[in-house]
């Protein structure tokens, strides 16, 4: 079989990948930014995020408390807290980097640093027990400790928790898919780029 002359091979190596690389980078960046925006939009418009972000006067739009009180007061946040901000910050910080040529075929490989659900749980502590995550609690259940203690202390940290007369209990909390489902979904989407 005839061999490709070395100078031709070098020229091909120089020219073709550079051209292809530029296109891949551009194409990947566009898809990445679009997917990242979708992820952030889905997080910020999630009923749980909206309810908590709305502060102590929100309605229970997430349905997690069967319409009684709201998540901000129930979890026991302090008036002025912005509990969803750390999650938004970590989602905004999702980046990618080029990790080399494709192992098969023509193209490039990229590594995307998507946070795991556990990483998000680690930055969302319960206001009354810092080792526990309120974001995980949305998925697995939250007891009404924060609410009841605020109520009993008569100096509500949330400002309005003590005004709710109906008794809210941990057993009444309706678990809702939240961070884990979101990360799982967008892990797939990012991989599909």
């Amino acid at each position: 079989m005839a061999k490709i002359p070395i100078d031709v091979l070098n020229a091909l190596k120089k020219q073709a990948p550079r051209e292809l690389k530029r296109n891949f980078n551009k194409e990947f960046k566009e898809k990445f930014e679009k997917t990242k925006k979708e992820l952030i939009d889905e997080f910020t418009s999630h009923p749980v995020t909206v309810e908590i972000s709305s502060g102590p006067f929100s309605a229970n739009i997430s349905g997690t408390l069967s319409g009684v009180s709201n998540l901000f007061a129930f979890i026991g946040f302090q008036n002025g807290d912005n509990p969803t901000q750390p999650i938004l910050r970590i989602l905004n910080g999702i980046t990618y980097r080029e990790s080399g040529n494709a192992k098969s075929g023509i193209g490039k490989e990229y590594t995307i640093d998507i946070p795991t659900a556990d990483e998000i749980f680690a930055i969302t502590p319960m206001p009354w027990a810092t080792g526990r995550s309120w974001a995980k609690g949305i998925e697995t259940g939250i007891s009404g400790i924060g609410y009841l203690l605020n109520k009993s202390s008569r100096s509500s940290r949330s400002g309005v928790a003590i005004q709710a007369e109906k008794k809210i209990r941990g057993g009444r909390f309706n678990n809702t898919p939240y961070i884990s489902a979101l990360i799982k979904k967008y892990n797939k989407k990012f991989k599909g780029i």
């Binding site: 526990r132 400790i145 203690l149």
Partner: protein, 286 residues
Amino acid sequence: MIEQYHHKVTNSFMLWFDHYLLTKGQAYTNISGAKCYNYDDERLDDRFEAFGSPYKQWVNDSSVDGATIANGIYIGNTPSGEYSGGSRGGLKLDFHNGRALIETNDQNLDISCDFAVKDFNIYFTNETEDDLIVENKYSVNSRTPSAIESYIEPYDYVLPAVFIAAATSKNEDFAFGGMEETTINISATVLAEDSYQLDGVLSIFSDAKNECIPLVTMADHPYDEFNDLKSGVYNYNDLSSGNPNKLFLNRTTTSKLTDKIRKSLSNDMFVGFIDFEVQQHRFRHQ
């Protein structure tokens, strides 16, 4: 209803938790010559008189090195009720409620007993954490001798204690052939008298990650209906050794109620939480 998988899991977890805390933390105190006081218990049938000690729950596990496992009582200075030939004669030891149940009509017997009392009572509960922490009232297994000593009401929760509840579970496909991964979340609420106790329990179980828990059927539970030992002796190591069917402790997370919140509690307790993720790979449909 016949025994289901969750029955086995909770039974196994409770026995393991108790054994692990008692052995790793040596979380017991030996008491000798504790006087037992007579009281009425409507739930008992007429043949029994209840004589309660000021402490409950008593350690029942012979595999706990150094712990005095109660085996009979003293009537005056005379030992009585040692387990022999399948029974203790007219005596039942209620390890759970820390008392002796004696078949007699004499309420004035001078009863005392040697035993080890757990530093933390272990309870399985369906109560919510808010009920446990905010609303319930408790007696205390105090380590400080009191001038007026008496029995502790039976069936009441006594502190320090750990309340265990199985919260959620799920099955997910794991491997070809129908193998599934069963994940069960179990939470433990720790109510302690002081920060030292609380930190001790949280430390022990924080380090319990990756432990294996032998699956024990309800039939192998050591207690009979009076909370006495079915065969006079219970040894967790013997019960669990050679059992290939095990649960895996995939994750443990510990946390404490913040001091600011804790100080708003009506009773001065130190509160901690342990969240366990227990897994087993199994063929659910076989």
